[in-house]
């Protein structure tokens, strides 16, 4: 089960958030609802400190995921400082393939190569592009770990 999907830009702002837990993906009312909530800030803070910690303990080390008794968070950090995060059940295996797909197949094509979307997201800006939202939903819901 995948519970939510988050993207943070290099200014630490949440630019995309999608919640799958309560509503089935058909409804679009859980897109970008939690971007400014404390939950987003805490999640970013935890991921940020863990990345710092892992690179401090071993040079060039990259954080991949963390797990609690209840859930697991998978992380991909791109060279441009974007962070892609998927929250899933704690027994789900490696989701780095899906994260790579979301970045290289979807984000690059619909956001980076899109002339109408900003090069750099300003504070308060979020991804509203429907082809990205639909594409992300499709990739995530078609994944074997999404139930």
């Amino acid at each position: 089960m995948i519970y939510s999907f988050w993207i943070f830009d290099r200014h630490c702002n949440c630019i995309y958030n999608r919640d799958f837990a309560q509503h089935k993906p058909a409804s679009k009312d859980t897109v970008n609802r939690n971007n400014d909530k404390d939950e987003a800030k805490l999640l970013f803070g935890a991921i940020f400190s863990m990345s710092r910690l892992s690179s401090k303990l071993s040079d060039g080390n990259v954080l991949q995921s963390f797990r609690t008794g209840k859930y697991k968070a998978h992380l991909k950090e791109t060279a441009t400082g974007l962070r892609f995060i998927l929250i899933s059940d704690s027994n789900v295996g490696d989701l780095s393939g899906l994260l790579n797909q979301l970045y290289s197949d979807l984000y690059l094509n619909t956001i980076v190569k899109n002339g109408l979307s900003p090069v750099d997201f300003k504070e308060g800006m979020v991804i509203k592009n429907m082809s990205f939202i639909n594409g992300a939903d499709e990739l995530i819901t078609q994944n074997g770990d999404f139930i």
């Binding site: 519970y3 837990a21 805490l42 935890a46 910690l53 071993s58 080390n61 995921s65 963390f66 929250i87």
Partner: protein, 151 residues
């Protein structure tokens, strides 16, 4: 299994024991003593923060997030070069081990449970040890080293 480092944190997040095993070859950087304290404090607070981030569908409404964090707190951090496991005992002592990739969760948990029993035997039963203070018991260190080599 190969254990790279071991940390023991008291219930308020203070570092009471830190040890790197085979420090010259295990790939873990040697930090300053201040950095070890920061590392311990960071892990202690992240442990509590991520418990509060549990997706709401996963816990019943009446169960508040400040409850028993042995179930909801941080358990494993997976990085490219190593895995970090956190084991919190009922008294709030945190045993943190950094292990090589590929070591299973069961093996790591067993190792930390064994560290806990060594701690009970050689630290808690030591009349000269003050609770929550840094552990300076030679016997404890020896046993931990033996355990890390055996497991």
């Amino acid at each position: 299994m190969k254990v790279l480092s071991l940390y023991l944190l008291n219930k308020s997040g203070g570092l009471i024991y830190q040890r790197d095993f085979n420090p010259e070859s295990n790939g873990i950087n040697k930090l300053s003593s201040n950095d070890y304290l920061i590392t311990a404090g960071t892990l202690h607070s992240i442990h509590a923060i991520v418990a509060g981030l549990t997706p709401p569908v996963l816990y019943p409404i009446q169960e508040n997030q400040t409850g028993n964090q042995n179930q909801t707190g941080l358990f494993q951090v997976e990085t490219e070069k190593f895995n970090l496991f956190i084991y919190q005992t009922l008294t709030g002592l945190k045993i943190i081990s950094i292990v090589q990739k590929g070591v299973s969760q069961e093996t790591a948990t067993r190792f930390m449970a064994n560290v806990h029993s060594i701690y009970s035997d050689y630290v808690m039963k030591n009349p000269f040890y003050t609770l929550d203070m840094p552990i300076k018991c030679q016997l404890f260190s020896n046993k931990v080293l033996l355990l890390s080599e055996a497991s």
